[in-house]
Amino acid sequence: MKNFILIVFLIVSNWLFSQNVEIDVSGKWEKKIRASDITEAGNDYVGTYESDSDETEIEIKAKNKNKTITVLIRKEDDYDEWHPNLQLQVRRTDNNNNNSNGGTSYQTITDFDSVFFYTEGRDNKVPIQYRINGISVLLPVQEYTTTIIFTVFQ
């Protein structure tokens, strides 16, 4: 009976004081690359396209507002749905957000988790902008898709 009470106490205290952090990602970038983007026969595409400055918004909620939250980013793509010549980059565009640190310059998203930026506070909404390099007529005509995974931890 004593053990049972202790376990219940641990569960309740853990729920109350644990450093829970949650992330919610909304907005995906879908871009159609048109032949009319080529200015004249003989040329390639300009190669680089940029999304809206708030194409994706990530909302981070943390119980503990004083502890730094690390935001990681990586991509996952199927072999035939992406091309190795495509280089996807990302940055956050809320430059005046004093709660966040880093991530305001474009960085390439790789297949492995890398630090995107740090933030703190209870409730942060961070706008995200993308840039793609390597768009070319040399790539087979098809749809290219990749999944961007954001991970937060304290």
């Binding site: 376990i7 907005g27 995906k28 040399l138 087979p140 005509v141 961007i148």
Partner: protein, 178 residues
Amino acid sequence: MRSLIYIICFFYAMSCFAQDNDDTKVTFELSEVAMLDLEPNNTTVTLNVVAPTKAGEKAIIVAANNNKWINFSSAVSAGTMRFISIIIEDGQVPPGIYLKLRTANYVGSGKGDTGVPTSLVTLNNSSQTIVSNIKGAYTGNGENNGYKLTYELEIYDYKLLDFDQSATLSIRLTLSDF
């Protein structure tokens, strides 16, 4: 007692570390591209057969503006190829002469599978391939990029020549899928 220690350690670890993730997608849809252009322009090529200056010599062929450059941009699905064809769309070559087109090898600042030229064709009212096996490629823009075309006249029968005759031909170049 030992299990209780494990439980305490578990909850302590849970309370120290918190993690979550979410994802979104990025999608690009590339379009088919088939763009072709002639450089420096598509103005008229003029070819004249001129009488020789001395009796017994062959007629002189004088050409003006007879070099053009094909520039193209091509984006295709995997496994698809394109070709460039040429046809006399309107008009007839005067009797006694052939109108020929020489296509040089690709040069320029482009990239990709720019294709394989057919060096010399005699133009007529049927479509003929002058560059084949084009895939995803661009030639570069302007003169000295792409395929240099040279129009030539060849006299094959002097007795059919009529020096008072002239003809204006419309020639069409097309970039198509195989």
